[in-house]
């Protein structure tokens, strides 16, 4: 598994050279876009990291986790994933802030940390995408789009726990 990334990168550079691409300039150009992305998300991220940090410091987040944990544990589901699952379709930055909270509390290589990582890596900000694409096309009646999209998000959370349980422990 650890060989995938190096192989991919080497193959990519080789392919670019064969295709006659100036790969160094391309990389620099892309890195510039990366910086622009970080700059673009920074204010939102700071706002939400502060909000989540505040929630954590007050102890309210632990309280919510304690409230839902009996139900969650009854079905073998990590309680910390509940707030993240609720926020994920609405706000990408908010979910990232909660994700870092989980990393801080339990560590990125813990079971919860891995589940939360898989959720973050396999879902999108559903409401944003639905609004943007239908807005751009001038569609008002979206029929069952939101239902199916949220069902997919819910599936992702359940399946993340299952796959991490299978493959990582």
């Amino acid at each position: 598994m650890e060989a995938i990334i190096p192989i991919l990168i080497t193959a990519l550079c080789g392919y670019g050279l064969i295709k006659g691409v100036n790969i160094f300039d391309s990389f620099v150009e892309g890195a510039k876009e990366g910086i622009a992305t970080v700059k673009f998300i920074a204010p939102t991220m700071i706002a939400l990291l502060v909000a989540v940090g505040t929630l954590r410091a007050s102890g309210a987040l632990d309280y919510v986790a304690r409230l839902v944990s009996p139900f969650a544990e009854a079905v073998g589901f990590p309680a910390e994933l509940v707030p993240m699952g609720l926020l994920r379709p609405v706000s990408g930055s908010g979910a990232t802030a909660l994700l870092t909270g989980i990393y801080e509390g339990s560590g990125p290589d813990s079971f919860v940390g891995r589940c939360a990582s898989v959720v973050a890596g396999s879902t999108e900000t559903t409401f944003y995408a639905v609004t943007m694409y239908y807005g751009a096309a001038g569609i008002k009646r979206i029929r069952h789009t939101l239902f199916s999209a949220l069902l997919a998000d819910f599936t992702a959370i359940v399946v993340s726990v299952v796959t991490v349980g299978w493959f990582m422990s």
Partner: protein, 206 residues
């Protein structure tokens, strides 16, 4: 979003007021602002590295190549969109750009795809193809979850990419669940429409 933000701040204030943890709250608030910037700085290196490599992929024409590879699969999801049409070209390019994690390239392609799909259908209701296309974009089909890996690395993960297999399985399952539920909804809507039509006809003749 303002309400979510306000609710988070208000909930923490009220909760710590009840528990008498206002001191921790004020230091926690300051600390998290500082660590937010630290976090952003520490992930920005890895994010730039990946956007650099993915830019090489884009400049080598990998989007076009991937979209040709994906065409047979996508044809089944969009049976009413002709394979030679502009709409299909945009759909497959958007799909490939998403696979490579090129969000900046995928979004404009996706918007063009939606506008092309709109040309074929007057009215303000989403067509079946539009629903499937938006579902493809609300599910994450990125091959390499770079942001998550960067975050895990900055929190001291030993192997930031060890979740790769789980991420792939999870996204494929989630997207499949979304598409299947969409197909079922479609069938149900058609069934309801036809049963209403036939009952009206019965009433008219009887």
């Amino acid at each position: 979003m303002s309400y979510v933000f306000a609710a988070m701040i208000a909930a923490s204030f009220l909760y710590s007021l009840c528990c008498g943890t206002l001191g921790e709250l004020s230091t926690g608030m300051m600390d998290s602002a500082g660590s937010a910037v630290e976090l952003l700085l520490s992930i920005s290196g890895m994010l730039c590295m990946w956007s650099g490599f993915m830019r090489i992929a884009k400049d080598s024409g990998l989007i076009e190549k991937l979209s040709r590879l994906c065409a047979p699969l996508l044809r089944r999801l969009f049976p009413d969109v002709g394979e030679e049409s502009e709409a299909f070209r945009y759909i497959s390019m958007n799909f490939s750009a998403n696979l490579l994690g090129l969000g900046n390239a995928a979004t404009p392609l996706g918007i063009s795809a939606m506008r092309e799909l709109k040309k074929n259908s007057p009215g303000d209701a989403a067509t079946d193809s539009m629903v499937n296309f938006v579902l493809m974009n609300t599910a994450s089909i990125q091959l390499i979850p770079t942001t998550v890996a960067a975050l895990r690395k900055s929190y001291g993960s030993q192997q930031p990419f060890d979740i790769l297999l789980c991420v792939w399985l999870t996204s494929v399952t989630a997207l499949t669940a979304g598409l299947i539920s969409s197909a079922l909804c479609r069938r149900w809507q058609r069934w309801r429409r036809s049963s209403r039509y036939s009952s009206r006809r019965c009433a008219a003749t009887g």
